[in-house]
């Protein structure tokens, strides 16, 4: 197998590559040098990373999400019950189609679907939709759908428009790694949802304070319910990030035999964890409950965005693969 080395743009002589050596060397290279050693990567992988997603599932997903958004807006603006139910149904359909789209991509690339920016964004959108739908079913509240779907659509579409990978990701596989990444992205999605709910809370509270009680306000959830939904979402996020981070440590330990290896990402993740634990604690305090807690939640999500983008791109070694 001829391998392509991105560092010197030269072809290396073929070497005997086994699955184990690929895993070990790519993981070790990431930890040591901070730049993936693409000499170990399969050419097929790098060619495959440019392969487009299956259009059928993409179109189905897009149609379902767009239809769901329109239906939720119809429910919020016109108060049509059937429109709300249709929105939920289409969202569920979109989730199924999106799942198959991710699966198709993973099969085509012979790797996990989130190994690059495109995949991560797509998975984020999927998990955001899944978290929202779960919250909707648990709290029996549909009126927030019109606010969440634009974000789901944005991430889904952004995933398609994201630039081609500069580097192909290491073939990091295994259940532990899969759980680590999925739970981490689920945490970000849950935090994102709580941010949206907090924004709605602040908006509705302002309208109530200013006595601008129109059609939409009557259909939105009560402030108390928005507060509880936000806290539920944060709780899901906290559990996910805690377990996901632990899985990350386990994976690193198995890879290197060393559980601790400093990466700025760890510090920021800890900061995110602490920020949301602080939020949950304060949100139960009557003095903080309400607008102040919502503002804190929005600020916390800014840290999450910082972690997902700036830290991953410029500071982290192990998480800079896109």
């Amino acid at each position: 197998m001829t391998l392509f080395n991105v560092e010197d743009n030269k072809l290396r002589p073929p070497m005997r590559v086994t699955r184990r050596t690929v895993l070990w060397r790519s993981g070790y290279a990431i930890l040591r040098r901070g730049v993936p050693d693409f000499a170990l990567l399969s050419a097929r992988s790098s060619r495959a990373s440019g392969r487009p997603m299956n259009h059928l599932f993409f179109l189905l997903t897009l149609a379902a999400y767009l239809g769901s958004f329109a239906a939720y807006v119809g429910y919020l603006v016109a108060g049509l019950d059937w429109s709300g139910r249709l929105g939920s149904l289409l969202l569920a359909g979109g989730l199924v189609a999106h799942y198959f789209a991710l699966l198709e991509r993973a099969r085509g690339l012979h790797t996990v679907p989130y190994h690059d920016l495109s995949g991560s964004m797509s998975l984020f959108g999927w998990l955001l939709a899944l978290t929202y739908l779960s919250l909707e079913l648990f709290h029996r509240q549909r009126s927030v759908g019109a606010f969440v779907l634009p974000f789901v659509l944005a991430f889904f579409l952004f995933a398609q428009l994201s630039p081609p990978d500069r580097f192909a990701a290491p073939p990091a596989t295994g259940v532990i790694f899969a759980f680590h990444v999925t739970l981490s992205i689920l945490a970000y999605a849950a935090f994102g949802l709580s941010c949206v709910l907090s924004l709605i809370y602040l908006g509705e509270q302002r309208l109530l304070h200013e006595h601008r009680v129109g059609d939409v306000v009557w259909r939105l959830p009560s402030l108390d319910l928005l507060d509880r939904m936000s806290q539920s979402s944060v709780l899901v996020g906290l559990i996910s990030i805690a377990i996901g981070t632990a899985m990350g440590f386990v994976w690193v330990d198995r890879l290197t035999g060393n559980v601790w290896h400093y990466d700025p990402k760890y510090a920021v993740t800890l900061l995110v964890l602490a920020a949301y634990v602080f939020y949950l604690r304060l949100a139960r305090n009557p003095s903080w409950r309400g607008a102040r807690a919502s503002q804190l939640c929005i600020f916390n999500f800014a840290i999450v965005i910082f972690s997902f983008t700036i830290v991953n791109l410029f500071f982290s070694h192990a998480h800079r693969y896109f």
């Binding site: 109530l208 009680v213 129109g214 959830p221 009560s222 409950r289």
Partner: protein, 424 residues
């Protein structure tokens, strides 16, 4: 099969006339019994609320005669002069009676557009008549349809969702902030009529705890007992303001009863828990500058009146959608009615043809000799088969006719041509 409706409501009669013609449940049962016993109606149902008294029925005779008989009966039952009653009475027949009932059940004919109570009242009136055996297949179908249309209008439109009074608007706003009120507490300042209305609304929403404060302890106590609340002494503000999530103020006072300083202290003492205040007093009882406090929501009577006005406009905007649903159900009922009518007409035609066949054979057989009884039987059977064959296609076409108007016209044509003596 026809339907007749005779009644009066808040539009056709002043309250002095309405109160004379209202029925209690027992009176409704008695009237239903008497109307059937006297042969004025086969099926009867009396619907009586504070804003209307109506009698629905299926008459044995033509509707016009029944309507007149019903008016006389109402006059004699309530001992009200017919000349006094007649100008207030309205009469509706068939599809117009059906449409009227469906609009009543939907809240479209109510004094407060879209009110929810009327559906329960229609349900109760139907239950009483049904248990008494005063209804039959027509009124059963009619009132089941009315309950269905009432539910549909309320679930598919927003006709009944927005509050239409200051009291209900305030309570709904409290629900916007706190969600369900079953774990919340309310403090009512003042023991007047408005306070009573708000407390009634709060109790309907299952508010957990209720406190009443009034300068007159006796009036506070009376109000608290009525609604299972507790009384707090008028000057015990420190503890009073820490208890509730909702405060309703409606006291007569020239100066605000609660100033910003009071409320700031109270909010600090209660840990800044959200507090919703309805200031229904004129002049205002609550210092308006307090509205800027954290987690403090203040609505005065003007704010609530404006919300009610917006809701009224919004409800009126829902009326066309509700009317479409009503029309749809009127169509369904008439289709059912026509189907029953078709079967009745076809059966009546079959019976008439059979009796004429028997007469025809009896006359002709005297002239035809030499037929054995067996052969006579075969001839009769052949004629029967021919009649059935002749009726089969028209009956199928009638059943299959989708256009209701044409269907009704065809039934009328058959009745007119072949059954001129048959009563409808």
């Amino acid at each position: 099969m026809e339907i007749v409706l005779v009644g009066l409501n808040h539009r056709s009669a002043p309250v002095e006339v309405r109160e004379k013609v209202s029925f209690t449940n027992d009176q409704a049962r008695q009237a239903a019994e008497e109307l059937r016993a006297r042969g004025i109606l086969h099926e009867t149902l009396v619907l009586s609320t504070c804003n209307r008294s109506e009698v629905y029925g299926v008459p044995p005779e033509t509707t016009r005669e029944s309507a007149a008989a019903l008016s006389n009966y109402l006059s004699s039952f309530h001992s009200v002069e017919l000349e006094l009653l007649s100008p207030s009475l309205y009469h509706h027949y068939d599809r117009y009676a059906v449409r009227h009932l469906f609009r009543v059940a939907s809240g479209l004919d109510s004094m407060m557009l879209g009110e929810a109570e009327i559906l329960g009242q229609v349900r109760e009136a139907y239950r009483i008549a049904y248990e008494q055996g005063a209804t039959g297949p027509v009124l059963n179908r009619l009132f089941q349809g009315a309950l269905e249309v009432g539910k549909r209008v309320r679930s598919e439109t927003e006709l009944g969702t927005r509050p239409m009074s200051v009291a209900s608007a305030g309570v709904k706003l409290a629900e916007r902030i706190f969600g369900k009120l079953h774990e919340r507490a309310a403090l009512v300042l003042g023991a007047g009529a408005i306070s009573e209305q708000v407390i009634s609304q709060l109790r309907d929403r299952n508010i957990a705890r209720l406190f009443v404060m009034n300068r007159s302890l006796e009036r506070a106590d009376n109000l608290a007992r009525q609604f299972a609340g507790k009384v707090i002494a008028w000057d015990d503000w420190e503890s009073a303001l820490t208890l509730p999530d909702v405060i309703v103020s409606s006291v007569s006072a020239e100066e605000p009863v609660l100033t910003r300083a009071h409320l700031e202290k109270a909010m600090a003492a209660r840990g800044n828990r959200p507090l919703f205040v309805m200031d229904l007093g004129v002049p205002r009882n609550i210092d308006p500058t307090a509205s800027s406090l954290y987690n403090f929501y203040l609505y005065n009577i003007d704010d609530l009146t404006q919300i009610v006005q917006q809701n009224r406009t919004s409800r009126e905007g829902e009326v066309p959608r509700a009317e479409v649903i009503v029309d749809e159900h009127v169509g369904k009922f008439l289709t059912w009615q026509a189907s029953v009518e078709i079967m009745g007409v076809v059966e009546a035609l079959r019976d008439k043809l059979k009796s004429e066949r028997a007469e025809f054979i009896r006359e002709r057989s005297e002239r035809i000799t030499g037929l054995t009884p067996q052969q006579r039987e075969q001839v009769e059977s052949l004629i029967d088969d021919l009649l059935e064959k002749m009726l089969l296609d028209p009956a199928r076409r009638l059943q299959g006719e989708k256009d209701l108007r044409r269907k009704i016209q065809q039934v009328e044509a058959i009745r007119g041509l072949f059954l001129p003596d048959r009563k409808r």
